[in-house]
Amino acid sequence: MPLDTRLRFETFVVGAANRLAVSAARAVAQSPGATYNPLFIYAASGLGKTHLLSAIGHLARQLQPDLRAEYITTDELVEQLHQAVTRGEVESFRGGFAELDILLLDDVQFLTGRQETQSELLRLFNTLQRSGKQIVLTSDRPPAEIADLDDRLLTRFSGGLLVDMGAPDYETRVAILRRRCGERDVEFAPGVVEEVARLAFANVREMHGAINRLIAFQTLGEGEVTVESIRGLLGDHGNGRAYSLTPKSGQYENFLSGLAVAVAQHIDARRVKLVEATAEWRTQGYRTGALERALQSAETPDPEALLREFGAKVERLRALEQEIVALDPTQRGSVQFRDIEAIEELERVAETLRTSTAPPPPPDPAFLRSEFEVGPSNQLAAHAADTIVEEPGRRYNPLVIHGGAGVGKTHLLHAIGNELVAASGGAMTVACVRASDFVDELIAALQDSAIETWRGRYRRVDALLIDEIEQFAGTERTQEEFFHLFNWLVEAGKQIVLTAGRAPRTLVEMDERLRSRFEGGLVVEIQPPDRLVREKLIARQLAVAGIEPVPDVLRAAAGLEVKTARDILRVAERLAEIAAKSNGRLTSTDVSRVASVRRSTPIHRATPSGDDLFSDREKTVWDWPDLSGRIIEDLR
């Protein structure tokens, strides 16, 4: 069948209801067989199916003039087939269609009940599709709704693109009417076209009919059509006959009011704050399950209280994170630190870590600063110690106290520790450890692969006091670790106090970098106790025993040749024992007795015996009953 030359894409008004179909039709016309094959367009009667088919044919021929496009209605196809069968020319019928490039088949809903045509069409379909030829079909209903349709045809119809066209919306209707008026060169009074577009028509064809009547009315000189006269002129349509495709009033409004309820319910102002805060926490990586559950609950939560509670929990999480990471750096970055529901678990972890990583040993409370007697021999060290207690980590860092054995270094070290703790009201963590223990702990940590824990343990202290630092000699790893710990603590403003048996610069067994750091703080020496110190020590020790010695005795005792505070205390102890036996009275003779015994002690200390007799203090050490014993001892 020849194509209607008026039915082109240029004359087809595209609206929302048919945009898809038109786009698909254009695509097909521009490259037949390549895009949607078959293209199945369905729409109610009078909405432009035939127009589209024709437009495809025109455009395809325009683009490729030698292209063979054939438009045929289903009725006509049935008729042609009948004739061919009657004349016995079925083969030539088939051959004619098989040579087409585009088959445009209109109204395929009429295949209902045409079994012969259906099977012939199926054959044609296969032929054309095999050779990549385009097929376009139209129907007033989707393929699945075409009664009696062969299943094989149904699948083929649905196998390409199915596209429908709806009734045009208001704007499109206006556009269609205006185009029609333009074609007819008719101009209506303002508002007429728009009014017609608002009227109820079953389809575009009917609307065309209506505008044709109005055009005829106006061009036949019956007077100008006005908005008011339309209803009278159009009869049925003008009387507001029900029009299935015009908006059913109220649906949209109902939808809107329903939605308003939903918005008010879900996004009301009281929740806004909560939602925003939730989003904020989420961007920080925190899990906000609790807040989300609150939002989900039917009752509007109290946002203020919820957020306060959540904020407090986050604070606790942060504190736990800090603590746990300090104790066990491998936990850094754990997702649990972002989940408030993991707080209980984290508390347990922290508790375990706390107990398993008890702080380093504190200073021995037996060593009191008040019992450290000061004299010229140690006043510099005592002054430095007092300064440190006043301003830990600020003035002398590190403080290195050196001196011979028994001069009171350890006493002063522990005393500094105790004072620091006392001055901070117990808040400071002070580690006071012998160097040999420090080494042992490090070795144990290495054994247990707990080096990080060990480091964390020491890095948490506020002051690190190490006794007898020279025992680091020969321990490369310890020195290495201590070096880093030293730097970390000093940088963090934590006080370090060290004691050494010799001046730091003479500790050649230590790393140069450590020695130079020791020298970089304050190095003070405690010399063997001077007379004043000795006198104070003895007086105090006797006072503890409830004895008030006469000055002569005290002077004599202080005058004894003792090199260490430790020995002085021993002398004082001995004097106290003698005094206890003589009703609290002491004489210079007692002092000389003690002095002679005192000299014997190193021998006892040097030769520890396996014999119980000699280790019995009562029998071996102090209480020599007679002169001969003393003489023998002197001779030895």
Partner: protein
């Protein structure tokens, strides 16, 4: 992506109509479009190109005006239902806040419905969206067809609605159930906007 902007008090959400070919997705949009007052209508856009098939979908922006103090906009999309437009469907689905699955109630379309639903889940998964928490409603369309051609609502429930999401029967061509469906999905989306974790299951 969806947006609740509390500063400017705006809500914008993207709703995608998904389903097998010819189940009535575009019909839904057309009906909505037809009902919206002129001053609220955006331009309905349908895109199709012959070489780049990925651009083939309907887009209907709906400016609902101020609702409870929020300027509310819905962006409605349809995906092409035909099996081979997989890439397009995936693209359109990107950033969707809610999905309306339009099922064809006809008994013979059951397999297509199921395949399309599986396809939806797969595509959501590929976008990193959890199908269980993405707001979803089902629409059993074409319920106006003769009883012997279509599946009952119970049968459809059993075949498609295993997650128990809200479902609506519809005759989209004549507008039955269209707005009910849209309201259903809009409410789910709003619920999820308000509390991101739990909605979508309701």
């Amino acid at each position: 992506m969806s947006l609740v902007n509390y500063a400017t008090r705006e809500i914008t959400c993207k709703i995608v109509y998904y389903g097998p070919g010819r189940s009535g997705k575009t019909t839904n949009l057309h009906y909505v479009y037809g009902q919206v007052p002129d001053e609220r209508k955006g331009r309905m856009v349908s895109l199709a190109t012959q070489t780049d098939r990925t651009l083939f979908f309907d887009f209907l922006p709906l400016d609902l005006g101020t609702i409870s103090g929020f300027t509310t906009r819905l962006q409605l999309y349809t995906v092409p239902g035909q099996v081979y437009y997989q890439a397009t469907r995936k693209l359109v689905l990107q950033g969707a806040d809610g999905v309306v699955f339009v099922a064809d109630s006809q008994s013979r379309q059951l397999q297509e419905n199921i395949e399309s639903l599986q396809d939806l889940h797969a595509n959501l998964g590929e976008h990193g969206m959890d199908p269980r928490s993405t707001p979803l409603v089902l629409q059993y369309n074409k319920q106006d067809l003769p009883r012997d051609m279509i599946m009952s609502v119970d049968d459809l429930d059993e075949a498609l609605n295993f997650r128990g999401v809200p479902r609506f029967t519809a005759d989209a061509l004549h507008g039955v159930g269209v707005f009910e469906t849209l309201r259903g999905i809009a409410e789910l989306v709003l619920k999820r906007l308000a509390s991101p974790a739990e909605a979508g299951r309701g």
